[in-house]
């Protein structure tokens, strides 16, 4: 491409008034996605944003790209169709915890399993917002909501572990109030070839306000979140004095300088390790014992469905005996009536 594409965030904003509640985490994610898209060097008409149903799924209305607001749970399937139809497009799926993991759970695991090259942004606010406050498949056990007045009696999905279980090639996590970091993560997700799942811890200001507050509190960010980067030691803390090591097969938080621990003892993050053992533990880290893992946790190289689909067609075509409809219709046993 010789053309130089100089987009700004404005090129990705639509004229529609943004109608999320004031203070909703979605506003920040929208900004981060638009910034990421503007900086990627991809033509604006080649972006497609597909969503399901839910608050976050109104997202395409606020974008000036091609967009399709589909039906509840099915965005992954529609996005799969778009990407397979035209692999040149940069396809984004916007979905929520209810949309992707409850009604759309089947499509979610299968798009990940197939490794179709779409960027799936999963807004996780652990609640159904659009229907005004029922528990979701990521709500914590015991969560009290309108449909669980005595508290839920079911375990939540951990989205990253579902991705790993489905053989996923990419998983990352970000927090809505950290636009700069979110943007970086979205760009990395878009560059990854295959299904990139980004879980965004997002705050529903009306029905589940503060659900991620302990993690997302900007003042405590360095202490409670660990920002993972490929090839760098897993260090966190305001003073950069804490890190992760392996102890008896499990991750453990240590203090650099104590008990003879040096910087060299700290685990180095490797997103490319196909065996997801370490990735799984990073995904599972919870406060207060651990910091919560942010950034790209897993990004392994794997065959990409939409590319393989085109490759198979090209291979078959290059050796094909049948090259036209007329040849097809006359293939096999035919006879002539004179």
């Amino acid at each position: 491409m010789t053309e130089i594409l100089e987009y700004t965030i404005k090129d990705f904003k639509s004229e529609n008034e943004v109608r999320w509640c004031p203070g909703c985490g979605d506003h920040a994610v929208l900004n981060a996605v638009q910034k990421a898209m503007a900086s990627m060097g991809i033509k604006q008409e080649d972006f497609v944003v597909i969503s399901g149903i839910g608050c976050s799924s109104r997202f395409p209305y606020y974008m000036s790209t091609y967009g399709f607001h589909t039906i509840h749970g099915r965005a992954a399937a529609v996005a799969s169709g778009v990407k397979c139809a035209n692999p040149k497009l940069c396809v984004w799926e916007i979905t929520g915890d209810g949309d992707a993991l409850a009604i759309g759970g089947n499509h979610f695991i299968h798009v990940v399993r197939r490794n179709i090259d779409i960027n799936l942004i999963l807004f996780n606010n652990k609640i159904y917002g659009l229907t005004k406050g029922q528990y979701s498949p990521t709500s914590d056990r015991g969560a009290i909501t309108k449909t669980s007045p005595q508290g839920t009696i079911e375990n939540p999905f951990i989205p990253g572990q579902l991705v790993l279980g489905a053989g996923g090639s990419f998983f990352a996590r970000a927090v809505d109030n950290n636009i700069k970091h979110s943007q970086e993560v979205f760009e990395l997700a878009a560059k990854h070839e295959g299904t990139s799942v980004v879980e965004v811890l997002q705050n529903c200001v009306i029905f589940n306000d503060g659900i991620h507050a302990e993690i997302s509190d900007p003042k405590m960010r360095e202490e409670r979140q660990i920002f993972l980067k490929h090839g760098e030691p897993m260090i966190f803390g305001t003073l950069k004095d804490k890190g992760l090591v392996f102890d008896k097969g499990l991750l453990k938080v240590v203090k650099i300088g104590e008990n003879g621990i040096t910087r060299d003892d700290i685990l180095v993050h490797d997103v490319t390790e196909p065996n997801g053992y370490v990735h799984q533990q990073l995904i599972g880290m919870k406060l207060p014992e651990y910091p919560v893992a942010m950034g790209v946790i897993r990004a392994v190289k794997a065959p990409v469905y939409d590319q393989m689909m085109e490759k198979q067609i090209a291979e078959v075509k290059s050796k094909a005996k049948i090259k036209s409809i007329d040849e097809l219709l006359r293939s096999g046993n035919t006879w002539v009536v004179d």
């Binding site: 597909i50 399709f68 409809i325 007329d326």
Partner: protein, 612 residues
């Protein structure tokens, strides 16, 4: 010496029947192809259990293949068999009700054992008497023994020997009907090219069967069916599912688009997905989805991205696709959904045929949700109607449901192969001017919107499942909603301009107009033909275009004294006609047994109606 009995017939119905593992489908198909190559017109109907290998020797495990061939135009696989080939007692019992009086039954006498009588739940050791088949000509052939004998010097296991029994039956039947073996020999050599032993086994047994007929000449009636008068051209045998797949593919090429199919395997529609998965040489993108919903949703995604998108299914799967079908209606995307109907409700009768999804297709969605409904009526015209479904979808930006059924999908008949260049043109409504483009601006005449696909610069827009205004923006305005609902309905109504008037077969006016639709055509047509030979003033209006109905429908109905709607359900098309074409009395003839009509029962019914 007694002379060989040679019977000359206009048309013959043969039914091959055995355990579902006995290879009856292959036997029937090879015999049908041979007949067609010989110049007979044919029509076939496979009838098999839904279990892959139901318990051996039982009536439930019987797999049948019926073929009718003849010297004139054959439109059905026939009501009753002139010849039954039965591989075991259960096959005799299962088919006792579908034999033509005076017919011949060839059966494997080696299978007449107490064990097999028990399995078939026969009370005696004489199935013929027990099943009221005393008056038929019965030919006992020790097929198992003779097959073993033919292979005795070959080093093969007992299982392989038994598996080739069907070739003995095929060889014998070819002799009975004076059919040459060369086509079948060629097929065997090609199919088993990798194993000389299997080729040798099958050829030997095939010839043993043929030679057995020769030897027993004086005992066996021989039939001669002369070639049919058939229009000139190149022909092939084709079943409805393959014809559907190829019709869709031809339409994609005609429209200069790639074909995308997103589907989930389901009986009896799976062959369509399989046929298209095998056509990467012609650029097909096939996507086997995780479920029926993903099947249609991937197709909707592909349609948004500019492909000719299709999904294929049967009744239960069609039910699962309902919500997404509504999305394609409101988003106004081109889409073809093929429903190969089977017996319902729920899982129902997966391998049997029925027409009971009509009302589901017309109305089975939330909201006011009209779409175009087309029904194919013979195995080979599935090609034409699949092609036309795609043409309407692409030119009118509307989802089209093509209804076929298990009988059409699996049944086959000879088909005069068309030339690609002679197929109608297809012009997708590609958006041209980014300045004036609005997602829901419409052509004044057809009300179809334009199609702008991701990647086209300047046409960026949003579509979705919410109600919208002309610019594609969400609108909750009450007046706008009603306007859009009416526009979507009117858009479907205006498809009437693309479809031909309904033609009446037989008498153009008279006492009875028989009304049929879809896959029952062959039986209904032959019943009407028979009635006319006997002097009745009767016509047939057989519908392929269901929604919208052809423009002259009411006028045609008005030319007859009585109307009778025949369909394989409890009267769904009749109800629809009462609503759409009011002012007539619609008599009904219905059957819901998972089986096609017989021409005989139709004739009986029409005669009764004439007398009333």
């Amino acid at each position: 010496m007694i002379e060989t009995k040679v019977i000359e017939l206009e048309e013959v119905v043969i039914r091959f029947s055995g355990d579902s593992g006995d290879g009856m489908q292959l036997t029937g198909a090879l015999f049908s192809d041979t007949s067609a190559l010989f110049g007979n017109d044919i029509s076939t109907f496979p009838d098999y259990p839904s279990e892959i290998r139901a318990p051996q020797g039982t009536v439930a495990g019987i797999s049948g293949f019926q073929v009718q061939f003849g010297t004139s135009k054959i439109t059905t696989p026939g009501d009753y068999a002139h010849v039954l080939v039965a591989m075991n007692p259960a096959a005799i019992k299962a088919n006792s009700g579908c034999m033509s009086p005076g017919g011949t039954i060839f059966y494997d006498s080696d299978s007449f054992t107490q064990k097999n009588f028990d399995k078939a739940k026969l009370k005696t050791d004489d199935p013929f008497t027990e099943c009221n088949l005393e008056d038929y000509f019965k030919v006992a052939v020790p097929i198992t023994t003779l097959t073993k004998e033919a292979l005795k010097d070959l080093d093969i296991d007992n299982k392989s020997i038994l598996r080739s029994k069907n070739m003995f039956a095929l060889g014998l039947i070819c002799w009975v009907f004076s059919k040459p073996l060369d086509y079948i020999e060629g097929f065997i050599k090609k199919k088993f090219a990798k194993s000389a032993a299997i080729v040798e086994t099958n050829l030997r047994v095939l010839h043993a069967g043929w030679n057995y007929g020769l030897t027993l000449e004086h005992l066996t009636p021989r039939y001669v069916v002369h070639p049919a008068e058939i229009e000139k051209g190149i022909y092939r045998n084709i079943n409805g599912n393959l014809a559907t797949a190829w019709g869709l593919l031809a339409a994609a090429h005609k429209a200069n688009l790639e074909l995308f199919i997103g589907s989930y395997p389901i009986t009896p529609a799976t062959d369509i997905l399989q046929a298209l998965a095998d056509r990467k040489d012609l650029g097909v993108k096939s996507f086997q989805a995780e479920d029926e919903i993903a099947g249609i949703c991937t197709a909707i995604g592909a349609s948004f991205a500019g492909k000719l998108a299709v999904t294929s299914t049967s009744g239960p799967g069609f039910a699962l696709k309902s919500e997404a079908l509504g999305l394609s209606v409101i988003a106004e995307l081109p889409l073809v959904v093929v429903n190969v109907q089977r017996g319902g409700p729920s899982t129902g009768l997966p391998t049997k045929t029925e027409q009971s999804d009509l009302l589901q297709t017309l109305y089975g969605r939330n909201g006011e949700c009209p779409l175009v409904v087309i029904a194919a009526s013979t195995p080979s015209d599935c090609f034409h109607y699949a092609f036309i479904s795609a043409k309407i979808a692409l030119e009118r930006m509307v989802p089209v449901v093509l209804l076929t059924d298990g009988f059409l999908g699996n049944g086959s008949e000879p088909w005069k192969i068309p030339l690609f260049s002679e197929l109608p043109s297809i012009t997708p409504r590609m958006a041209k001017d980014p300045e004036s483009f609005k997602p829901y601006a419409r052509d004044e005449k057809t009300l179809a919107r334009e199609w702008a696909i991701p990647g086209m610069p300047g046409f960026q827009h949003l579509i979705g499942g919410l109600e919208k205004d002309v610019s594609g923006n969400v609108s909750h305005d009450p007046a706008n909603h009603e306007k859009m609902v009416k526009i979507r309905e009117e858009k479907v109504n205006r498809v009437v301009e693309m479809i031909p008037d309904i033609e009446v077969y037989g008498d153009q006016q008279g006492d009875i107009l028989v009304i049929g639709w879809g896959g029952t055509f062959g039986y209904v047509e032959s019943a009407v033909r028979e009635m006319r030979i006997n002097g009745a003033k009767i016509g047939l209006a057989h519908f392929n275009y269901i929604q919208p109905l052809p423009g002259n429908t009411a006028e045609v109905f008005g030319r007859f004294k009585k109307l009778v709607v025949c369909e394989l359900n409890l009267g769904q098309f009749a109800s629809y006609l009462r609503d759409k074409i009011p002012g007539f009395v619609y008599h009904q003839y219905n059957k819901v047994q998972g089986l096609p009509f017989t021409s005989k029962e139709l004739v009986d019914n029409f005669e009764k109606l004439l007398e009333e």
